[in-house]
């Protein structure tokens, strides 16, 4: 059994590498493999400026963004599903995505009310977008974390999270009504989600932050395993429930906040990948599920990004459509197949 797990993890690592390379190779402009390698290793002096720009300023940042965003959302989704013991919990469930949306909406739409469309401000505008999304998401998360210390039931907390999401969306609705059309369009485009928006300088920061956060979330595996048993059993086994909840929600929330700030609300991955991993690995042990979700999330995000960027689709397919179109059938297939295996046992 354990050997099988290591085998699958190995396959996932290979898939990440292969898909990463394909993400660099495939696009509207054809660039041969050898040139890509040369550009990556900085020997691309004889390569054209255009090719260098495409690889280093477009394809590489996009691939890296997809990789860490997919990994971050999937790990957060797993944490949320375990802490709330709810298979439908996902990164968006606690209103954290809505918080980010509200932050963005406030900046984009309110600035427009004064007559200056933020969408025309270019770089400053996109930085403002990121910052406002992070502030919005973290504000909601802090609120939830505070409430999690007060209320006892997980379901209560979950419902409060969903309610906060509704309030945020309602405020966004009101803001939209008063905004200029240009800004609404900018906001809607942000809401579609994209791995391509993160530009050169920001990608370094984004990837670095996520590279620090992801290993930190791995530290919670024993806590998550105990939380599976329910609050009472977990407490009886010596777990400090409040602290565990705070740490888990905090860890998942910060990851979601940052990913959402850079890529917009990416749906589906965080909800689906944990189910996919449970189905494939047939275990509930987070020591396997956490790294598995991380890798599987990266693989799926890279794959979806590849599809969205296929020649002909470019700019047509928003990433959210691709994740759902590809991911949903895959998850359903895994669940159906598993049901059959369970019955045959």
């Amino acid at each position: 059994m354990k050997r099988r797990w290591i085998g699958i993890i190995g396959l996932l690592v290979i898939a990440v590498v292969v898909l990463g390379v394909l993400n660099l190779l495939i696009g509207t402009v054809e660039i041969p493999f050898r040139s890509v390698v040369r550009i990556l290793f900085g020997e691309g002096a004889e390569e054209s400026e255009i090719r260098r720009n495409i690889i280093l300023k477009s394809r590489l940042p996009q691939a890296l963004t997809a990789l860490v965003a997919g990994a971050g959302l999937s790990v957060s989704g797993l944490q949320m599903q375990t802490v709330f013991r709810n298979p439908l919990a996902g990164p968006s469930v606690l209103g954290i995505s809505s918080g980010a949306s509200l932050g963005v909406a406030l900046v984009v739409l309110v600035s427009g009310i004064g007559g200056h469309a933020l969408s025309r401000l270019g770089y400053v505008g996109s930085l403002a977008l990121t910052v406002s999304a992070i502030i919005g998401a973290l504000a909601v998360m802090a609120l939830i974390a505070l409430i999690s210390q007060k209320v006892k039931g997980n379901v209560t907390l979950l419902i409060i999270g969903v309610m906060i999401g509704y309030v945020a969306n309602a405020v966004i609705g009101v803001l939209k009504f008063f905004s200029v059309e240009e800004d609404i369009r900018a906001y809607v485009i942000w809401g579609l989600g994209s791995f391509a928006r993160v530009s050169g300088n920001q990608v370094t920061l984004f990837v670095t932050v996520m590279a620090l956060l992801l290993p930190l979330s791995m530290l919670l595996v024993k806590t998550l395993n105990l939380l599976l048993l329910g609050d009472h059993y977990a407490r009886n086994l010596g777990l400090d429930i409040r602290r565990a909840r705070l740490l888990t929600i905090g860890s998942a929330g910060v990851s979601v906040a940052i990913v959402t700030a850079y890529c917009g609300p990416i749906m589906f991955l965080g909800l689906a990948v944990p189910h996919l991993c449970r189905g494939i690995f047939s275990t509930s042990d987070h020591r396997i599920l956490m790294p598995a979700s991380l890798l599987m999330g990266a693989v799926l995000a890279l794959f979806c990004n590849l599809i969205a960027r296929m020649p002909g689709f470019e700019g047509v397919l928003p990433i959210n459509s691709v994740t759902a179109l590809i991911g949903a059938p895959v998850v359903m297939w895994v669940l159906f197949r598993k049901r059959k295996n369970d019955l045959n046992e």
């Binding site: 013991r85 530290l219 595996v221 024993k222 395993n225 105990l226 599976l228 048993l229 329910g230 009472h232 059993y233 407490r235 009886n236 086994l237 010596g238 777990l239 400090d240 449970r278 047939s282 275990t283 509930s284 042990d285 020591r287 369970d342 046992e345």
Partner: protein, 332 residues
């Protein structure tokens, strides 16, 4: 093994605190639990059994009075310390999927494992021992969701054994089980108190079983003081007889057990002995015929012989070969 008091309640008041308003469920509880004994908590729904158990497990604080566990106030222990002393099996339905029974038992080692929860060789030994103690070796590799209620309960008990705590509290461990499984679980727990010297305390609605298997019973009734003692002592002093003051339940002092009280519409005189007589008596009671009616009150006699029942009524005699025939004939 020397019996020692492991838990003592003094003047304990239990209940809930909602918005600074206290809701007392039971008060003035004074009793003690000893190791190497199986203690069963009995009481009707709403008597406060679960509240008492949750209070003993330190899931909720007492409203007043004190609980001492192994000589120290329960509230003075940290959750971490308690995880080494006190294990619980609850009625909480764990919705565990993709986890094997062995994985579940392994969770019991959590207080002893390190940061990542990796199992050492000694942990694996304890897990195997716990699995063997409840006899679920053949289920160890099965997924929890494929186990029956009884099997899952045994896995839960194995988990709490793997936790290696001197005290184990169980909330209605026999609920939702079929009768053989109820007996099996109760006997298993009783055997564990003898073999391991653990203190085992459980709440149950299975009166018959508790009276037959428990070393001590606690009777809890709303608004009345807690009564404790061996099932036999409580039956001698009449406490048990008065515990269910309802129509329909009668305490049989001869067996020390409860049985259903029948309302008789008529009576017969029953003669004979042996198994057949006992069965005829049971059947008659069941259909509302008093088998021990006095001579003045009945004209009918049922005589039990080695292979037949004879009804003598109004000077005539009817022979029956089975209980079914007997009941049919009496009805006519």
């Amino acid at each position: 093994m020397k019996r020692q008091e492991t838990i003592r309640l003094s003047g304990l008041q239990i209940g809930y605190c909602v918005r600074n308003e206290e809701h007392v469920v039971a008060e003035r509880l004074d009793a003690s639990i000893s190791n190497g004994e199986l203690t069963c908590l009995l009481g009707r729904n709403g008597a406060g059994k679960s509240t008492l158990l949750r209070t003993l497990a330190a899931f909720q604080p007492p409203l007043g009075g004190s609980i001492r566990l192994l000589g120290r106030a329960l509230t003075a222990y940290s959750d971490r310390e308690l995880s080494h002393l006190l294990g619980v099996v609850l009625t909480d339905k764990c919705d565990l999927t993709n986890m094997t029974a062995a994985d579940l038992v392994a969770m019991g080692r959590a207080p002893y494992t390190g940061f990542w929860g990796a199992l050492a060789a000694s942990d694996r030994q304890e897990i195997d021992r716990a699995i063997a103690a409840v006899g679920i070796e053949s289920l160890a590799g099965r997924k929890i969701q494929t186990l029956s209620d009884g099997e899952r309960q045994k896995a839960m008990i194995a988990k709490v054994l793997a936790q290696q705590t001197p005290v184990i509290l169980l909330d209605e461990p026999t609920a939702f089980l079929d009768y053989p499984s109820k007996v099996e679980i109760m006997q298993l727990l009783h055997r564990l108190t003898r073999e391991t010297g653990k203190t085992i305390f459980l709440s149950t609605h299975d009166l018959e079983l508790a009276l037959q298997i428990a070393d001590r019973i606690w009777l809890m009734k709303r608004g009345e003081p807690l009564i404790t003692g061996t099932p036999e002592d409580l039956s001698i002093d009449g406490t048990l007889a008065g515990f269910f003051p309802q129509q329909g339940i009668a305490f049989d002092p001869a067996t020390g057990l409860f049985r259903i009280r029948n309302r008789y519409r008529e009576g017969v005189r029953l003669t004979g002995d042996g198994l057949l007589r006992a069965m005829a008596e049971k059947a008659l009671r069941r259909v509302g015929i008093d088998p021990s009616a006095s001579d003045e009150r009945t004209e009918t006699t049922v005589a039990v012989a080695s292979d037949r029942f004879t009804i003598q009524r109004d000077g005539s005699a009817v022979e029956c070969r089975s209980i079914a025939e007997l009941l049919d004939a009496l009805d006519r």
